[in-house]
């Protein structure tokens, strides 16, 4: 099923004002309903290598696999859509590739990357994330963060040690508790959300949400959602105008049409049998 008529996608990535390298990496395929964003870390150009490997491995493998297996089909063992299984497997594969490269080549030692990836299918989105790259959703007036960072700061907020308001002043913003490619295995956090017509999804690296308040991000999306490309550029520009201290990347996905999975009599019958 080709989703390019149902989803409008725009992306923008920028090294920012201060850094010379862009260690972020983005990839998108509207036809497959697939978006991937990674924020790499590591010395020299290792961060770019890690984030580039993550987006490349996950995108190319999933493009291929989504062709073979409809993502909305339920996996018999778990009862969850195949999309989840496919993402879990490909994230594990990317993790292994990055980890092995880091182990075998000294210049890549210790490299890793955060990840946020989403697959759209059957009026749903399955999102997987590791680290502090985020997925937000604008639905009508409501702008919400759908992912929860794997970071020291988020853990402190969760334990009640610090309020979200105080967190803006924390000096511990840059510590993630999970990353791709650091250990032999990694556990991605995967959730499925129902989408609605008109929803705008934002995937971003921390270079955006550290520099621009959620309120301003939400208002920009609301104001410029008619022109997604412009909205993406505007968000990056706002991060840079506010100092641009980190690489900043955004992917925007707008649901412009219904994209329910085809339901023939056979599939209806099969689901009735279940």
């Amino acid at each position: 099923m080709n989703l390019s008529q149902a989803l409008e996608i725009a992306s923008c990535t920028d090294p920012g004002i201060v850094r010379s390298h862009n260690e972020d990496s983005v990839a998108a395929d509207a036809a497959k309903g697939l978006v991937v964003l990674a924020d790499g870390m590591g010395g020299y150009n290792a961060g770019e290598v890690a984030s580039g490997m993550a987006t490349t491995v996950i995108t190319t493998e999933l493009q291929h696999l989504l062709e073979e297996t409809p993502p909305y089909k339920l996996e018999p063992a778990s009862g969850t859509p195949y999309a989840e299984k496919l993402m879990r497997e490909q994230i594990a594969k990317a993790n292994t590739s990055i980890y092995q490269a880091a182990q075998s080549q000294p210049q890549y030692s210790g490299m890793g990357t955060t990840l946020v990836a989403a697959v759209f299918y059957d009026n749903k989105v399955t999102v997987a994330h590791i680290g502090d790259s985020r997925l937000y959703r604008l639905r009508g007036e409501a702008f919400e963060q759908l992912t929860r960072d794997h970071s020291l700061l988020q853990e402190q907020i969760d334990s009640g040690m610090i309020t979200p308001e105080q967190a803006k002043f924390s000096q511990n913003k840059n510590l993630v508790t999970r990353a791709l490619g650091i250990d032999p295995t990694v556990e991605p956090e995967i959730h499925c959300h129902a989408t609605q017509l008109g929803d705008v999804y934002l995937l971003c690296s921390d270079g955006l949400n550290d520099m621009v308040s959620d309120e301003d991000i939400g208002m920009t999306l609301q104001t410029l959602s008619a022109n997604l490309r412009l909205a993406a550029q505007q968000l990056v520009q706002m991060a840079n105008d506010n100092g641009g201290r980190d690489n900043v990347s955004v992917i925007l996905v707008r649901v412009v049409r219904d994209y329910a999975a085809p339901k023939g009599w056979l599939s209806r019958f099969v689901s009735w049998l279940r």
Partner: protein
């Protein structure tokens, strides 16, 4: 370099304490890390929990309480230059991470906190239990060390100062149509865009709203009719720009049709969109 506390009484500096331990206790009894031998201070008065670069102060149910910047607190997330008061004693908290030591760039780079590497400054020298940093009672204190003068109150790390959230939102919407008066929908912004440069405005020159003036104080101001033709004026540190957002027709500036790129606006430029003319100008 970690955060530190400067203990003083009546403006006289008594001691400087670097926060190296995960828990730094403050109280009158000798086993405290910071002992203040004064009856106004409880035996176990307060504790400072330090996790990497952040420190949290907690009052341990003291008799006379703990103040931070004049306000009584139970628990407080310490910010550089906070003044903690216990009775007549003052502890100034200084955290100039990022301004000193590692460059702010290295400091801000994302790092992974590995499981097992608990968020403790464990590598820092931890004073042995039983040996506390005893503070002598007044006035048998040494004069303030000269190094103290280097800690400027404004030596706030860049990481914090630039991350201060902007209060309010920085957007506004102006609907320009033949029948509709101009409406602004968002509150004033206090973002940095406002703080820099002169404020500009647009004045409607034709149509039903002719003569109306609108100050461009927000980061984004949209003009036009949604679904027909919309343009956005962005306020940036380097000035104002107009960009086409939606609609088959692009806006005109001084009679020239714009393309998809942002176009810088100059004083007294004439903007035309959705059949309405308006003038852009800087307020004096």
């Amino acid at each position: 370099m970690g955060a530190k506390l400067i203990l003083s009484m009546d403006g006289l500096v008594l001691k400087e304490i670097t926060l190296t331990k995960e828990r730094t206790t403050i109280g009158r009894k000798p086993h405290n890390d910071i002992q203040i031998d004064n009856l106004a201070v409880s035996g176990e008065h307060a504790v400072i929990v330090t996790i990497l670069n952040d420190s949290f102060l907690e009052d341990l149910g003291s008799t006379n309480g703990t103040l931070v910047n004049g306000q009584p607190i139970k628990k407080h997330f310490l910010q550089s230059n906070d003044v903690v008061e216990l009775g007549k004693y003052k502890l100034k908290y200084i955290n100039d991470q990022g301004a000193k030591g590692a460059s702010p760039l290295d400091f801000e780079k994302t790092m992974v906190l590995r499981p097992g590497a608990t968020p403790k400054p464990a590598e820092a020298p931890i004073s042995k239990p039983g040996i506390s940093q005893t503070v002598p009672t007044m006035p048998a204190s040494p004069p303030p060390p000269p190094t103290l003068s280097t800690t400027q109150p404004n030596a706030k790390p860049l990481a914090t100062s630039q991350a201060v959230p902007t209060a309010g939102t920085s957007h506004q919407t102006v609907h320009v149509s033949a029948s509709q008066p101009i409406s602004t929908t968002q509150p004033m912004s206090t973002s940095q865009a406002v703080a820099t440069g002169k404020v500009a405005a647009i004045q409607i020159l034709s149509g039903a709203s002719a003569g109306r003036e609108m100050e461009l104080t927000k980061a984004l101001t949209t003009l036009g009719k949604p679904g027909v033709q919309v343009a956005v004026i962005t306020k940036r540190p380097q000035g104002y720009f107009i960009t086409h957002v939606e609609g088959a027709n692009f806006p005109m500036v001084n009679g020239r049709l714009l393309d998809a790129q942002a176009h810088p606006l100059s004083d007294h430029d004439i903007v035309e969109l959705a059949g309405v003319k308006m003038e852009f100008f800087y307020k004096t």
